[in-house]
């Protein structure tokens, strides 16, 4: 696992004062703690994992704070020399990729002519996709053309990949070429 060094966080120089002694100035008949003290410190006891922003090509470092099986906060990674803890509005919002209620959480299938999705399990989905792939490939596969071995299918396309990890793009590249797919494109073209 990665070793985190959180020493470069932007701590204030608090003149020796500690949090506990920093009492709120009390005025009049105010005897309660200030609002700010009334809640638990948000990232206390959270697990911190470094990641790289999934948006533009700058490659900013982000720290993901997780607690109780959710993402409680995301902030710039002060150790990453590219952004030194700073982020734009998109990077700052990374947390909501997890918390958004719009996230898809189940495989969905739409039958021909249907006007709705149906929930299906992964096994059925991947089995059916594999079958469709094989059917389309087999009926269209060109082994040779004008005496040259070409081993291709022009019936299947693969699009996208700019948001995938390198290892994933490598597998897409390898699997699709391995199947003989020649309509292989991604966002770099558009």
């Amino acid at each position: 696992m990665v070793e985190m060094n959180l020493n470069r966080r932007q701590f204030l120089k608090l003149s020796g004062a500690t949090a506990a002694t920093l009492a709120i100035v009390e005025l009049g008949f105010n005897e309660q703690k200030a609002y700010a003290k009334s809640k638990e410190f948000k990232i206390a006891k959270a697990t911190v994992t470094p990641t790289i922003c999934c948006f533009c090509g700058v490659g900013c470092g982000i720290l993901v704070h997780t607690k109780d099986n959710t993402v409680v906060y995301t902030e710039g990674d002060p150790d990453n020399p590219i952004n030194e803890g700073k982020l734009c509005s998109k990077g700052t919002t990374l947390r909501q990729l997890y918390t958004s209620e719009k996230r898809m959480t189940k495989p969905l299938y739409r039958a021909p002519g249907s006007d709705k999705w149906e929930e299906k399990d992964w096994e059925w989905m991947l089995d059916t996709i594999a079958k469709r792939t094989k059917e389309s490939r087999d009926k269209s596969f060109i082994v040779s053309e004008n005496g040259v071995t070409v081993n291709r299918t022009e019936k299947i396309a693969s699009l996208g990949g700019a948001a995938l990890d390198n290892e994933e793009t490598y597998l897409v590249s390898k699997l699709m070429r391995g199947l003989g797919v020649v309509y292989l494109e991604h966002q770099a073209r558009i």
Partner: protein
Amino acid sequence: MAKEYVKFVDVTKCDGCKACMVACKNWNDLPVEETAFQGSAQSHPKTTADTWNVLQYIEHENAGGGLDYLFRHSSCFHCTDAACEKVCPENAISYTDFGSVVIDQDKCVGCGYCVQNCPFEVISLKEYKDKNGKEYRKAHKCTMCTDRLEEGLQPACVTTCHTGAMEFGDKEAMIRKAEKRVQEIKGRYPNAQVYNPQGVGGTHTVYVLAEKPSVYGLPENPKVPTSAVAWKDYAQPIGKMMLGATTMALVGAFVTNKLFNKEGKEQDGGGSNE
């Protein structure tokens, strides 16, 4: 005593990315709210109870006939003499050692005097319903991330700002820095100035503005309303003596309506935030 701190905002370094807006929502877990199209890149007309800082976008034709596209991170100024603190009948608003001005949500009764009296219009009320369906209100605004300050961390907005348009640090050092910066940019922005209005005793959000305050909709010379001073320093202690704290809100309503004009504005000069 802890040191007094200032959030220094150099608007001439800002590139308008709005990270500060989202960082604030992210740290403070603030919900989204619907806003109308503003006709510019600006998302909200001003700060609200759920949006404690708003990035302003201004297209300004300067004296030389050229176009300046100006940005400003706008949020609570954390005044040294805070009108909101003075008018609060429940003493829910207080100063911290850091220089921030905070609202104690447990004490706030949602009377709205702070909203009416803030010279910068940065405080807003939000309506809630309790479990019996009864409506109540609370006032909200930027806390300067006082909970972070207490843990030795800078405010979330400052932490994320990539151009260095925002810095957080020792009050005197930040003010010196602001003054120096104004000298550096006078060539490009002849009206550049430090905005740290003395009418409210100076603020803990100190700006370098590229233009006159009115260009940003800020009062040129904001003051604590004299009526607020009267309320805080005279009426309130007397009232408290007479009636006890719990009924002060009622008296407050009476006094406020008598003393303040309808909008609760007594500031002089400058433009408005509309």
